[in-house]
């Protein structure tokens, strides 16, 4: 997975703001997206032909992926290519800044690529057109089949440079693919690139599967499977396809999630009508009971430092969100608003907890601080739940279901994303209906 060699001929200009270089403020909504021109990458004519790859179109394709990534953030406005004024190879050497400013671009991305000895060598630059300066120059080498990832890595580097935050384009989404009528749904584990490409199905659909979640290295997924009609938490190695049951529990285990260091899985274990939270160390196989309460305790999620756990419990009579120390002590209820709360997930930045709220028959995705204060509801709908964080903690992905008629028609389940600003709500394309998304961390760090 980490086969991309980042040959860092990195010329970052760290003395930036003193020169008034362009920056994008991502803490506000998308009031004023930055106009950016993404020139097609120049394809070196000496490039080798690779089977099943249209080498001569590769530069154009990569630039299109970068544009789509930028557009999806709501922070950038990629300009139409037919207005571009300079040939890609010439612009990449040194753009005529005043010409690009004429088409109202503030930033320009240029690049070139060469396929030689079955390796793809890519070079790109980001230019500040207003200050007439190069902001980033980077080159790297990889296998030609990785060309889509090249586009995502370029997008991440530019996003990082312009916003000051790490990107989230070179990532994947694990989810549950859904087909068939609502009362006989066939569910499979699936994985795709963040932009909806390279979908792979990891199970065949013979048994019900739910709630896949990545570990921090993105090699493993933990999920719930009804294999042999015994609902248990499983572990799947994405590369090898090897699956195993997590632990040996005399009953249903569910709601799994990795600890931030990837060493443990935390989950619910239900027995005799009571669900409590347990963790299992994947190396020592040691099981630890964390909550002990006659109510339902589920949906646990660690804080990024591993010191705390947020979870869902109905010990007050109704579903609410709680935080405790990761040994189970100092349990504190943090939601007190009107309505029910579920699916708490701690942000990778540690500052916020995302949740699902149900009030007066409507479903909301929201965020609040980890003490429960500052609740903000981002989106409201007939049914939606299960937020998952982008690795930079700026975007949430979740699933949404539509109402069905008396025959079950009209039902659909789709993935959506929204910025934590509450802006930029958009649907993610999936090959089939989809639910239970889990956003990976960056594949190349």
């Amino acid at each position: 997975m980490r086969k991309i060699l980042l040959t860092l001929s990195l010329l970052l200009f760290f003395y930036n703001n003193a020169y008034g270089l362009i920056t994008v403020d991502i803490t506000r909504g998308n009031l004023d997206p930055l106009p950016i021109a993404v020139s097609p990458l120049h394809v070196d004519p000496k490039s080798e032909k690779i089977s099943q790859l249209e080498t001569e179109k590769l530069g154009e394709e990569i630039s299109k992926i970068v544009e789509r990534n930028f557009k999806s953030t709501g922070l950038f406005n990629p300009l139409k290519k037919d207005a571009f004024v300079q040939k890609p190879d010439i612009a990449h050497l040194k753009p005529r800044f005043e010409d690009w400013r004429l088409i109202k671009a503030q930033a320009l991305v240029t690049g070139k690529l060469l396929i030689k000895d079955k390796k793809l060598k890519v070079e790109f630059r980001l230019w500040d057109l207003t200050a007439a300066k190069e902001m980033v120059a980077l080159s790297f080498t990889t296998t030609p089949n990785n060309w889509r990832r090249v586009a995502h890595i370029i997008s991440d580097k530019i996003y990082e440079r312009l916003t000051g935050e790490s990107g989230y384009f070179d990532t994947r989404i694990a989810y549950v693919s859904e087909t068939g009528p609502k009362n006989q749904r066939i569910k499979k584990l699936a994985i795709m690139d963040q932009d909806g490409f390279n979908t792979k199905y990891l199970t065949l659909g013979n048994e019900l599967v739910l709630t896949p979640r990545f570990n921090t290295t993105n090699q493993l997924v933990t999920y719930l499977s009804y294999f042999k009609n015994m609902p248990r938490v499983y572990l799947l190695d994405i590369e090898t396809g090897i699956q195993e049951v997590v632990g040996n529990f005399p009953g249903m285990t569910f709601a799994p999630r990795f600890s931030p260091d990837g060493k443990k899985i935390i989950m619910s274990f239900a027995k005799d009508g009571n669900s409590d939270i347990y963790s299992m160390d994947l190396e020592t196989r040691l099981v630890e009971q964390i909550t002990k309460h006659p109510s339902i305790d589920t949906s646990p999620s660690y804080s990024p430092d591993g010191k705390y756990i947020t979870f869902n419990s109905d010990r007050s009579g109704l579903q609410q969100i709680y935080v405790m120390r990761s040994d189970g002590t100092q349990v504190k209820r943090i939601t007190h608003g009107a309505g029910l709360y579920g699916t708490p997930v701690w942000s990778p930045r540690g500052d916020l907890i995302a949740f699902t709220k149900v009030r007066k028959g409507r479903f909301y995705i929201g965020v609040m601080r980890s003490d429960g204060s500052g609740e903000r509801l981002l989106t409201e709908n007939f049914y939606q739940e299960a937020p998952s964080w982008s690795p930079n903690g700026r975007v949430l992905i979740f699933y949404r279901e539509t109402k069905s008629d008396s025959k079950g028609k009209g039902f659909s389940a789709k993935l959506w994303s929204i910025d934590i600003t509450g802006y930029n709500e958009r649907r993610l394309k999936t090959e089939t209906d989809a639910s239970d998304p889990s956003w990976s961390s960056l594949l190349s760090k």
């Binding site: 009362n183 239900a270 009508g273 049914y383 639910s435 239970d436």
Partner: protein, 159 residues
């Protein structure tokens, strides 16, 4: 005076229409649900003559109603008579709750049914439970009626 009488008449007519419509809604509700719990028979199957296979629950609840307890006593009697039968109790929730909470809720509902069968003399060894959460609706509609039919625990013969 005449005018007053006319108003009075209108009032009576109006009142009686109200009364009739009130009656009809009350009657309809009585067929389907009481206090959020399904009381109809539309989706019910029978384990044996006069032994319904399922009981229904109120939203987010796993408490057995009087009718549910009656159904489960019939199941217990039938199970005591047929000692070689083993069962699985499937617990279900409606689609109006988060997936993971509903898995726990389904498990709790199946266990309320199991516990009640055990107090009426059925050995726990003969009873397996499984929760499907909201994954297996019997009625795929998005309506209060469908939801009430889906909040259920179903006793299924396992052998």
């Amino acid at each position: 005076m005449k005018f007053n009488k006319a108003i009075k008449n209108i009032f009576i007519v109006l009142f009686s229409t109200l009364l009739i419509s009130a009656c009809s809604t009350a009657k309809k509700a009585a067929v389907d649900t009481t206090d959020d719990v399904y009381t109809g028979t539309e989706t019910v199957k029978y384990l044996a003559k006069g032994v319904p296979d399922r009981v229904f629950f109120a939203t987010n609840k796993s408490k057995l109603t009087t009718a549910s307890r009656d159904t489960l006593r019939k199941q217990a009697t039938w199970l005591r008579k047929n000692k070689d039968i083993t069962i699985t109790i499937e617990g279900h929730a409606d689609e109006r709750g988060t997936r993971e909470y509903n898995l726990a809720l389904g498990e709790r509902r199946a266990n309320s049914a199991k516990d009640y069968l055990m107090t009426y003399g059925v050995s726990g060894k003969r009873i397996a439970v499984i929760s499907y959460g909201k994954e297996r609706p019997i009625n795929p509609a998005s309506s209060p009626l469908a939801w009430s039919q889906n909040r259920r625990s179903v006793t299924v013969k396992a052998n």
